[in-house]
């Protein structure tokens, strides 16, 4: 048995967790974490496919199915034995002609939704099959935001590639930039200065804060509790304004670059951020009480959209989706990276796996991010924030923990340009779980469940 097939068996047996599967012309790659490793490191396998074929991982391990479909659309690589051979990112000339999986039964009806939705939302299509009000099956069809990212990255110089990577999923621009920078630094053997590593942590926690605050409000709003939304949106806005004041951009795009940072914390930034933390702590406490004490709101979130722990583990779901279903994985801990290896923080987990649990994970992570920012500001090293990238050739792979989970970055650099790169969004392993979570719930609870996942469309659509 080849190394590749042995890995497929270990993934299927639950002895390893899939981190990504991607292609390039004539070659297929896979990354995984092995549970048995004492000090877990990312295992990266790749194999030539001279005839454009490789043994399917998805055949044994369903988490790989969509990744294999994407690799076929982008590079023509055939996963032999693949259970689902429909296109994924390639919508062809006639986008409405897509063979949804058949659902049969007496009295069932279908509701097609999207790609254009009622609110300000990314594009995707949801096909509900319902028995009365109850969803029997949901099948999502994505790929509408496919922008040809990997084709753009191939041949781009490092700064241009970093700008593109920062726009694969705008809400996670910092996490993507960190993952990519760390992969590029590993490829060329450049170490960013200590101050840059610490400031990256600061940027990442500000991004987590802003997104979690937005999500907590958004979830409550989808349960028709607009008051929480108004308060949380105001707090989110405060974070974005401080980010702009401290780093020059509300979403902190292009701040993290290979070699370190493009900007240092603006003068007076530390004082501003400490004031922000004090303000958020004071206000957020009241909002948590409000959430916890509003019975009508809990009535909507408790017991809704349950993801079973076994499923979260099998798909290697990261972020709040995994943690709300008992999977405590966090890339800041495993494999871990600076500055988190010298900071104190908790990774909250819950067992219930419902909307309420995904709200609480976010609430607890807001508190942890505030603690982390305080520690970083307290111990921020002095010095430069950028090191010149060494020239040369090499391959690097890295994980960074974004607000919705771990982002995987792989890059091969030749000279000063990116030969190939791949970025794997956390949502690849979360979207399929949404389909499971909504089963048996009423259609009207879909927006609530969907918001509690808040998966990226643009990220996995590449």
């Amino acid at each position: 048995m080849s190394e590749w097939e042995a890995m497929a068996a270990r993934l299927a047996a639950g002895e390893a967790t899939l981190l990504g599967l991607w292609g390039e012309p004539g070659r297929v790659h896979l990354a995984a974490l092995e549970d048995a490793d004492a000090a877990p490191a990312i295992r990266h396998l790749s194999r030539d496919c001279p005839d454009g074929r490789y043994p399917s991982i998805g055949r044994l391990h369903p988490a790989a199915i969509r990744l294999e479909r994407a690799a076929r659309d982008l590079y023509g690589l055939e996963a032999e034995g693949a259970p689902d051979r429909r296109p994924w990112l390639d919508h062809g000339a006639e986008p409405t002609a897509y063979p949804f999986l058949p659902v049969t039964g007496a009295g069932l009806h279908q509701i097609p939704v999207g790609p254009v939705h009622a609110g300000i939302i990314e594009p995707g299509h949801f096909r509900f099959t319902c028995d009365g009000e109850t969803v029997v099956r949901l099948e999502a069809r994505l790929g509408y935001a496919h922008k040809g990212v990997e084709a753009l990255l191939a041949g781009a110089d490092l700064p241009a590639a970093a700008r593109i990577v920062g726009r694969i999923s705008g809400d996670s621009t910092v996490a993507y930039a960190i993952a990519f920078a760390r992969a590029a630094e590993a490829a060329l053997g450049t170490a960013p200065p200590p101050r840059a590593a610490w400031l990256r942590g600061l940027l990442a926690e500000l991004e987590r804060l802003a997104n979690h605050l937005g999500d907590i409000g958004g979830i409550c709003n989808d349960a028709a509790f607009a008051l929480m939304q108004a308060h949380c949106a105001a707090l989110r806005e405060r974070v974005l304004r401080e980010a702009a004041a401290c780093f020059g951009h509300r979403l902190m795009m292009d701040a993290v670059v290979p070699g370190g940072l493009a900007v240092d914390l603006h003068t007076g930034g530390a004082v501003r951020l400490l004031a922000l933390i004090a303000e958020l702590r004071a206000r957020f406490r009241g909002l948590v009480r409000l959430y916890d004490g509003t019975v009508s709101l809990q009535d909507r979130t408790v017991g809704t959209g349950i993801v079973r722990a076994g499923l979260a583990a099998r798909f290697g779901a990261g972020g709040y989706v995994g943690r709300a279903s008992g999977r405590g994985f966090d890339a800041r801990r495993t494999p871990g990276y600076a500055p988190y290896d010298s900071l104190a923080f908790e990774v909250p987990t819950r067992a219930q796996g419902d909307v309420n649990a995904r709200v609480w994970i976010r609430i607890e992570e807001v508190t942890e991010s505030l603690r982390l920012i305080e520690q970083i500001l307290d111990r921020l090293p002095e010095g430069p924030v950028h090191a010149k990238m060494a020239a040369g050739a090499g391959e690097g792979i890295a994980l960074a923990e974004g607000f919705r989970g771990d982002v995987l970055a792989w890059v091969r650099i030749e000279g000063t340009t990116v030969a190939r790169a791949h970025l794997r969004d956390p949502s690849w392993f979360q979207w399929p779980l949404l389909e499971a979570a909504i089963e048996g719930n009423i259609v009207a609870d879909f927006p609530l469940c969907n918001k509690s996942f808040n998966c990226s469309y643009s990220g996995p659509d590449l």
């Binding site: 939302i121 040809g148 705008g170 659509d461």
Partner: protein
């Protein structure tokens, strides 16, 4: 609950929109007749034509208490059939071309299109991608472009107000 309601949002957070000379010029380019017809209220339909979601975040922010879009008579609506203005984000991915064109076609006339962000204006960092069409104007006629990556909410608001000549 009432204590939270009263304590959290005081003093009022809503701010006057920031004047933006660049956008004033853009607004002036719209003819007076269009402005008369739009009157004092606009129903906006947003379509994400393959954005990175950064522009969506800032469109969302327009609704927060700091910008409070609705005090200007501007609101996002769920159906293109209720909309005067189509706000389009993203570099127009091939896979969104048909949906964008159909949404625009579903809007009653008169209608206006605002291309949001550097992507909507000219494809942004995705300019060389064969998977993208290049700009919103390639699919639907554009009346106003609001640049930025993403444009901050103050600029989005100023752009919308310029569209119907109110500051």
């Amino acid at each position: 609950m009432f204590r939270t309601l009263l304590s959290g949002l005081r003093p009022p957070l809503a701010e006057p929109p920031v004047p933006d000379t660049e956008l004033a010029a853009l607004g002036a380019a719209l003819d007076a007749a269009a402005r008369r017809r739009l009157g004092r209220g606009l129903a906006i339909r947003a379509v994400d034509a393959g954005s990175c979601n950064g522009c969506e975040l800032e469109l969302h922010a327009l609704g927060n208490p700091f910008y409070d879009l609705e005090r200007f008579g501007l609101r996002f609506v769920a159906s293109p059939r209720h909309a005067d203005v189509l706000m389009v984000t993203g570099p127009v991915s091939r896979n969104m071309r048909a949906a964008l064109a159909r949404t625009h076609a579903a809007m009653p006339a008169p209608k206006w299109v605002v291309a949001v962000g550097d992507c909507g204006a000219g494809c942004g960092v995705f300019a060389d991608s064969p998977a993208c069409l290049g700009s919103v104007a390639k699919v639907v006629p554009v009346d106003l472009t609001i640049p930025g990556c993403p444009p901050p909410p103050a600029r989005l608001l100023a752009g919308l107000l310029a569209l119907f000549g109110r500051r």
